[in-house]
Subunit: 78 residues, 2 copies
């Protein structure tokens, strides 16, 4: 199983992207972890280190897919 | 089968996103069409009408997922 992490911040753009990505993804091959950075603030640093610039974003190995634009990571940090 | 259309313009960001999305997507449930707007210029209007603002983008029903940023649709139009 390949691990994918979907980072979001609960914004409407995030929720829509989460719905589409979780529908789309092949669950037989990918294990998807959903991380709400507004609620799990301890994981912001990990997201930033992985290259996440904005949410929603999907981390796949070393590649970050920024999906539409809900908020910058700077805004999530507050 | 749900139809998904991946619009791109051959840029490096597009190629990376295409690789990730085509790996990720559940092919048992989604039929993915790949459209290179630089080569299939007759389809730019259709992409624009669907809400595509930049490439790469994935169209799923009425939702457009803009994935990272390769080029604006205006740039693709040239």
């Amino acid at each position: 199983m390949t691990k994918a992490i979907f980072y979001h911040a609960g914004c409407p753009v995030c929720v829509n992207a989460e719905d589409r990505i979780t529908e789309l993804i092949d669950r037989d091959r990918y294990q998807v972890e959903i991380v709400h950075l507004g609620e799990q603030r301890g994981r912001i640093a990990e997201a930033e280190a992985a290259g996440v610039k904005s949410v929603p974003a999907l981390l796949l190995g070393h590649d970050v897919l920024h999906i539409n634009f809900g908020a910058s990571l700077a805004d999530v940090k507050g």
